[in-house]
């Protein structure tokens, strides 16, 4: 499913008919620190959220999301796209610490 186990999970229907609307689901492991919390010693915990998320279908951008600090930890996304051709759906993201992650899955269109 995903390359790094436990970092992100993606679910794409493995097969679809051309023109069919398919649901893509994504779950990312991330603390989504909102920057308002303090640790046990009272020091502010630096804000660290996934601020940008991009989904590409065969290299073409199909979704771009800018996330805010109101999104819970370990965010879950679901969106729809139209199956046009066989290829890969790749999703990558970047957080405030500059850490990038990505997951991808193939879809076969008949």
């Amino acid at each position: 499913m995903s390359e790094a186990p436990g970092i992100g999970r993606i679910r794409v229907p493995p097969r679809a008919r051309r023109g069919e609307v398919v649901e893509i689901r994504l779950l990312i492991q991330h603390p989504m620190e909102n920057g308002f919390r303090r640790d046990t010693l009272g020091r502010a915990v630096a804000k660290n959220i996934i601020h940008r998320l991009v989904a590409r279908y065969d290299g073409r951008e199909i979704l771009r999301a800018e996330l805010g600090s109101g999104i819970a930890a370990n965010p879950y996304f679901a969106f729809f796209t139209r199956a046009t051709a066989s290829g890969r759906i790749e999703i990558d993201w970047e957080d405030d610490a500059g850490v990038r992650g990505s997951v991808g899955a193939a879809i076969e269109v008949t």
């Binding site: 499913m1 995903s2 186990p5 436990g6 970092i7 999970r9 679910r11 689901r25 779950l27 492991q29 603390p31 989504m32 819970a72 930890a73 370990n74 879950y76």
Partner: protein, 251 residues
């Protein structure tokens, strides 16, 4: 007549106390129930996935993986989590899933101990508990586990903290009633390790129990302490027959 009414009331009270065991899931909202039922969206499954990878990973001075000795967890670990805590002849005490994983890590793999509630500890616990999902909880409380069981039962009924409450006051006498915005559950440990919304992370039953100690303003027992193990043994015995739901989702 008065005596008959009093007797009827006493009987009614007794039956109310002995209500059938219900999983904590019954007290959760529709959204939480849906999330737990969906293996993709349940965030704890991320940790289970990581646990599956850790199962295969060679570690420590022995350079052995869990799978090198135990094989496929789907077969060898099926039902194990539903039978714990249990007497451990090698450790010569009652031990939990967490403690057994840890003992194996140190003794067989020659690796460093997994700190309580750390990512690797929770990942393996979640993965192994998942192998027993749906199986009824059943623990042995006779034989060498007996004394520990009685300690746990005693703790369950002992008033503690500034609130001066015992577990039984909320989770038996007031189960189903409302505490702030929540309904009080029977405290059945069927979901653990579970993803808790309040924590935005998965945690073990020990973390949840410690939160209860904090809630009644009592001193929290240390992770993996004898008191927590005894309490777990009593709680699982009390819940026996209920199915293990791990990894669960809770508010």
């Amino acid at each position: 007549m008065k005596r008959a009414v009093a007797l009827a009331l006493a009987l009614l009270a007794a039956t109310a106390l002995a209500e059938a065991p219900r999983s904590g899931l019954a007290y959760q909202g529709e959204d939480i129930r849906r999330l737990q039922a969906d293996d993709f969206a349940n965030p704890a499954m991320l940790w289970a996935e990581r646990g599956a990878a850790a199962w295969q990973q060679r570690r420590g001075t022995a350079n052995k993986s869990c799978a090198d000795c135990h094989g496929a967890a789907e077969q060898s670990m099926r039902g194990v989590a539903a039978r714990l805590p249990a007497w451990d002849a090698r450790l010569q005490r009652v031990s939990t899933l967490d403690q057994r994983i840890n003992a194996c890590t140190v003794r067989e793999q020659g690796a460093a101990e997994l700190p309580p509630e750390s990512e690797p500890a929770l990942a393996l616990q979640t993965y192994l508990a998942l192998q027993s999902r749906g199986m009824p909880l059943r623990v042995a409380v006779d034989g060498p586990a007996g004394p520990v069981f009685y300690i746990g039962r005693e703790l369950y009924r002992t008033r503690i903290g500034q609130m001066n409450l015992a577990c039984t006051h909320c989770h038996e006498q007031k189960a189903g009633k409302t505490l702030l915005a929540e309904q009080i559950s029977q405290g059945q440990p069927t979901a653990w390790p579970a993803y808790r919304m309040d924590w935005q992370a998965p945690g073990s039953i020990e973390r949840r129990l410690r939160a209860c100690f904090l809630g009644v303003r009592a001193e929290m027992p240390a992770y993996r302490s004898e008191d927590l193990v005894a309490l777990q043994l009593y709680l699982v015995w009390r819940a026996q027959g209920l199915a293990l739901e791990a990894p669960g989702v809770r508010r």
